[in-house]
C-alpha cells in the first residue's frame, strides 16, 4: 500500500488526519485493494468535513474533533475489517475458511507428529525369562547335557576354510561337486601319458628343493593355495590349487612352457590362520627362492592332484576312499576330545541352556539374543558323521553306530520346546544321525545283536513319543517386539515408534541417527497408519491361536482342509497390521519339518525292526502289521502326507519303505530329486524313500 502521505489527495489534510487514517488502515490487516478503498473513503470523508474551514489552525482543531468522534483507530480498524469480511463473496469465504482449516489441521498434524515421534517404548516384561522358563526342567541337576556340549564347542577345531579337508567333506554333502572336479582318470590315455612324462622330466627340480621348503609348499596345499613369485622372484603372489592345476595341465597339453605370465594370480597372502606367509616372504628377503621354482612347484602340484582325486567316490553309498580317509581322519582325530564331550552330553536326559541377551544390544531384544551355539552344533554334527565314517572304515562298526545314535539323541535334546531355531537345529542334527544310521545299515551287514541293540536304543530316544514342533516361543518373540516398538500408554494402549524401524528390519541394534533420516517420513507415516498396541496384540493373539491349531495338524490334514497359515495372515489388513505381516513365523513349514522328522524316526525304527525280522525269519514280512503283532513295533509308522502308514512293499530280497511326499501322490517309490537330478528327501516331485537308501551319484 502506498504511503498515505504520498496520496496527492491527502497532502491538503492535517498530519493528524493522515496519521489517524494510516493507523486505522494498518489495524484493518486485510487485502490491499479493500484497504485502499477504505482509505479513499475515509480520506474523502475528512476532506468533506474540513473543506469549509479555511485556515490551517481551524482545520487542525476540527480534524482533532473529528478524530475523537471516530473513536479508537484500532477498534475502528477491527470493525471495518469485520464488516468488509462480511462483504466478500461466498466463494472467497469458502476459500479463506478452507485455508484456515487446512492451516489448523497442518498445525495439529505437526503437533501430533512431534508427540508421535517423541514417544518411547517402555520395556516392562522380561520375555527372556519366560523363554528360559519354557525350556527349564523341573529340577536342574547334573543330568544337563549343555555343559558337555559347551565344552565340545570350545574344544572343536574347525578345518581350514576352503582348505583341502573342507573340500573333501563337501564331496559327500554335495555329490554334484564331484562333477566339476577334473581327475587324472578322466583324461585320455595319451594325455595321462603326457602328464606322467612331464612329471618325470621335471621331477629333478622338485627333488632339488630343500626339504624344509618342500614342507612349506606342501603346507600351503592344505589351504588349497599355491605361492607364486613374479617379477624375477621379487613379487609374492598366489593362486588357488585348482587354478594352478588346470593351468599346468593345459600348458602341458599344448606342449608349452609353464611361465609366470601364464598363471593367473591374486595377492599372495591366503589370509588364513596358520598359512605360512612369513616363511615364503622370507625366501624373497634372503634370496632363497628355489631354483626353477615354477617347474618344481608344478611337479608338486600335479603329484598332489593325482593323489587327491584318484579314487574319489562316485556315489554317496560308496565306502570311504583312501584319499578321503587320508585327508579327513587327521582332522577327526584332532577333534576326538570335542567329540567325546559331545557323546557324553548326548547321554544326558535333557539339555538346558539359559539364553542370554547379546551384550552389544543395549535395548535387549529377544530378536538379538545370543545363539552362537547353532553353527557350532551343526559343525559338531558334521564331525560326528565323519567320526562314524572313519570308525566304519577302521572296522569299528559298533562305534560307528554309537556315533549315529549320539547324533540322534543330541537332536532330541533341542526338540519340542524353546525357540523355533533351536528346535529346527535339533531336527537337523537328529536327521543327520538317522540318515547316517540307515546308510550304515545299507552298506554294512549288521549282526542280529547289533540290530537289536540299535533298534532298542533308537526307540528309547523318545520315551514319551516324538516331540513335534512347539511354536509357543514365537508368541513371546512377537510380544517382545511389541514392547520394543510401541509406546506404553496413550490412545489405544500405545502407538508404533518410527525410530524403531531399523531394528525391526534387521539393522544393527544401534542404528545411527543419520541412517534414520532419509526414511523417517515413510516410517512415521506407516507408524501412524498402523493399528494401536492393544489392537495389534489382540489381533496377533487371535491369529496365533489359529496357528497353534494348524501346527498340530499333519501336512495331509492341512491339505485336505485347504488350510494354510498364510491365508489367515492375508485376511489381516496389511497396511494396518504390517508388523504382524512381517513378524509371523513360517508355521506351516516349521510344523511340516517336525512331522517329516517324526516320519524319518519312525521309518528308522521300522527299518531296523524289518532287518531284525529278516535275520530271524529269513524273509521280510508281507506287511508291517506282522511287526506290530510280533511286538517289533509299538505302532505303525505314519506318513504325514497321507495320514496312513508308510508304504511298504517287499521286493526280491529286499523291501521298499517310503512316504508319498509333499505332492501327496504315490509315485511308486520313485524318489524326489533336486535341480541337479540327485535324489533328495521331501521334494514335491517324487516320494521320500527311506529304504533302500537313495544313492546320489556323480555323473563323471
Amino acid at each position: 500500500m502506498a504511503d498515505i502521505r504520498e496520496n496527492k489527495d491527502l497532502r491538503n489534510l492535517p498530519a493528524c488526519v493522515c496519521e489517524f487514517i494510516r493507523l486505522v488502515i494498518k489495524k484493518m490487516r486485510y487485502r490491499k485493494r479493500v484497504r485502499q478503498d477504505v482509505q479513499d473513503e475515509l480520506t474523502a470523508h475528512f476532506e468533506d468535513e474540513l473543506k469549509d474551514w479555511p485556515s490551517d489552525q481551524q482545520k487542525e482543531q476540527k480534524a482533532r474533533k473529528l478524530i475523537a468522534e471516530f473513536g479508537d483507530p484500532k477498534l475502528l480498524g477491527v470493525l471495518l475489517r469485520r464488516a468488509k469480511k462480511r462483504c466478500r463473496p461466498l466463494w472467497r469465504t469458502i476459500v479463506a475458511r478452507t485455508f484456515q482449516t487446512v492451516g489448523v489441521l497442518v498445525l495439529c498434524l505437526i503437533v501430533y507428529t512431534i508427540w508421535f515421534m517423541s514417544g518411547k517404548p517402555t520395556i516392562s516384561v522380561d520375555y527372556l525369562a519366560q523363554l528360559n522358563q519354557m525350556r527349564r526342567p523341573p529340577l536342574l541337576d547334573e543330568d544337563n547335557a549343555w555343559p558337555h556340549y559347551e565344552r565340545a564347542i570350545n574344544l572343536y577345531i574347525e578345518p581350514v576354510r576352503d582348505g583341502v579337508v573342507e573340500e573333501f567333506i563337501s564331496f559327500r554333502d554335495e555329490p554334484g561337486l564331484l562333477e566339476g572336479k577334473l581327475r587324472f582318470r578322466d583324461l585320455s590315455e595319451d594325455e595321462q601319458a603326457q602328464i606322467l612324462q612331464w612329471i618325470q622330466q621335471n621331477k629333478k627340480y622338485w627333488d632339488n628343493v630343500p626339504a624344509e621348503q618342500q614342507n612349506v609348499i606342501l603346507k600351503c596345499f592344505e589351504y588349497n593355495w599355491v605361492p607364486i613369485f613374479k617379477k624375477r622372484h621379487l613379487l609374492y603372489r598366489g593362486t588357488s590349487f585348482s587354478s594352478m592345476t588346470n593351468c599346468i595341465i593345459e600348458t602341458i597339453k599344448e606342449r608349452k612352457e609353464v611361465t609366470e605370465d601364464s598363471i593367473y594370480t591374486a595377492a599372495g597372502h591366503a589370509e588364513k590362520a596358520g598359512f605360512p606367509d612369513a616363511e615364503v616372504i622370507d625366501w624373497i628377503k634372503q634370496d632363497k627362492v628355489p631354483r626353477n621354482y615354477l617347474e618344481a612347484l608344478s611337479v608338486a602340484v600335479l603329484d598332489e592332484w593325482i593323489k587327491r582325486y584318484k579314487d574319489l567316490p562316485k556315489s554317496t553309498l560308496e565306502g570311504l576312499s583312501d584319499s578321503e580317509y587320508e585327508y579327513i581322519s587327521p582332522w577327526v582325530k584332532q577333534n576326538e576330545p570335542a567329540w567325546q564331550e559331545f557323546v557324553k552330553g548326548s547321554l544326558k536326559s535333557y539339555c538346558y541352556r539359559e539364553v542370554q541377551y547379546n551384550p552389544k544390544d543395549k535395548d535387549r531384544w529377544l530378536l538379538n539374543i545370543l545363539a552362537p551355539h547353532i553353527s557350532d552344533l551343526r559343525n559338531l554334527a558334521r564331525l560326528g558323521i565323519w567320526h562314524s565314517r572313519i570308525n566304519l572304515k577302521d572296522g569299528k562298526t559298533r562305534q560307528a553306530l554309537g556315533d549315529c545314535l549320539a547324533l540322534a539323541r543330541a537332536g532330541s535334546h533341542w526338540q519340542g520346546k524353546g525357540s523355533l531355531i533351536d528346535q529346527l537345529i535339533g531336527l537337523s542334527i537328529g536327521a543327520f544321525g538317522h540318515e547316517e544310521m540307515l546308510h550304515l545299515a545299507q552298506v554294512q551287514n549288521l549282526s542280529a545283536t547289533d540290530l537289536k541293540e540299535l533298534h532298542q536304543q533308537v526307540v528309547q530316544i523318545y520315551p514319551q513319543g516324538y516331540r513335534l514342533i512347539n511354536i509357543e516361543s514365537e508368541r513371546l518373540w512377537f510380544l517382545d517386539i511389541v514392547q520394543h516398538v510401541f509406546t506404553d500408554g496413550g490412545p489405544g494402549g500405545g502407538h508404533l515408534v518410527p525410530s524403531r524401524w531399523p531394528q525391526l528390519t534387521g539393522e544393527t541394534p544401534s542404528a545411527s541417527e543419520s541412517e534414520l533420516g532419509i526414511f523417517m517420513p515413510l516410517s512415521a507415516a506407516a507408524s501412524m497408519i498402523h493399528a494401536r498396541r492393544d489392537d495389534t496384540v489382540a489381533r496377533f493373539n487371535e491369529l496365533f491361536d489359529k496357528f497353534t491349531e494348524i501346527a498340530k495338524m499333519t501336512p495331509y490334514q492341512r491339505h485336505v482342509r485347504n488350510l494354510r497359515s498364510d491365508d489367515f495372515v492375508s485376511q489381516v489388513p496389511k497396511y494396518r497390521y504390517f508388523l504382524i505381516d512381517i513378524c509371523t513365523p513360517a508355521v506351516d513349514r516349521a510344523s511340516e519339518f517336525g512331522y517329516c522328522g517324526k516320519a524319518s524316526h519312525e521309518a528308522t525304527v521300522t527299518i531296523l525292526a524289518l532287518k531284525r525280522w529278516r535275520l530271524e525269519k529269513n524273509a521280510y514280512p508281507p506287511t508291517l502289521d506282522e511287526l506290530l503283532a510280533a511286538g517289533y513295533l509299538k505302532e505303525l509308522p505314519i506318513d504325514p502326507y497321507s495320514d496312513k502308514p508308510l508304504i511298504y512293499r517287499r521286493t526280491d530280497d529286499d523291501f521298499v519303505l517310503y512316504s508319498v511326499g509333499p505332492n501327496f501322490t504315490d509315485d511308486g517309490g520313485v524318489s524326489g530329486k533336486d535341480s541337479k537330478g540327485q535324489p533328495r528327501s521331501w521334494r514335491d516331485n517324487g516320494d521320500t524313500v527311506f529304504w533302500p537308501v537313495p544313492e546320489a551319484k556323480a555323473n563323471r
Partner: protein
C-alpha cells in the same frame, strides 16, 4: 448511534435501545436517493431534526455491514472536480427490509401508546 439530543437538550439513550434503529434510519435516508458517507451522516442529522446523530465510528462499519447483507449497494463515482466518492444506494432487498422494519416500528409505537397513554406524544 451514540447520542440523541432534543433541540437544545442533549440526552444519552441506552445503546441497546438504539441498536436496531440505526440500520433502519440509514435505509430510509438512502431510499430517497444515493448518498456518500459524509452526505449520509449530515442527512441523518438534518432529517431527524438534529435529534439523531450517527457516530463517525459507527457510520462506515454500518454501511459495510448493510452492504454485506445486500441491503445497500456501493459504487465509486468520480465527480466533475475529479474527487472520487463512494455512493450508497438501497437495493430491492433493502426496500423490502425497510418496509418490514417500518411496519414493526408502527406496531411498536401503537403498543407503546396504549401503555403510556399520551405520554409519548411530543410536548
Amino acid at each position: 448511534m451514540k447520542s440523541v439530543g432534543i433541540k437544545g437538550i442533549a440526552m444519552k439513550f441506552e445503546s441497546q435501545l438504539l441498536k436496531g434503529i440505526a440500520p433502519v434510519v440509514v435505509l430510509e435516508i438512502l431510499s430517497r436517493g444515493p448518498m456518500y458517507g459524509y452526505e449520509l451522516s449530515q442527512a441523518i442529522e438534518q432529517r431527524s431534526g438534529e435529534i439523531l446523530t450517527l457516530g463517525k465510528g459507527t457510520l462506515y462499519p454500518l454501511l459495510y455491514n448493510l452492504e454485506a447483507k445486500k441491503l445497500v449497494r456501493g459504487r465509486w463515482e468520480e465527480a466533475a472536480t475529479g474527487r472520487k466518492r463512494r455512493y450508497y444506494s438501497i437495493t430491492g432487498k433493502g426496500e423490502v427490509e425497510l418496509a418490514k422494519q417500518k411496519a414493526q416500528f408502527k406496531e411498536l409505537n401503537a403498543g407503546l401508546k396504549f401503555v403510556f397513554g399520551g405520554a409519548l406524544s411530543p410536548a
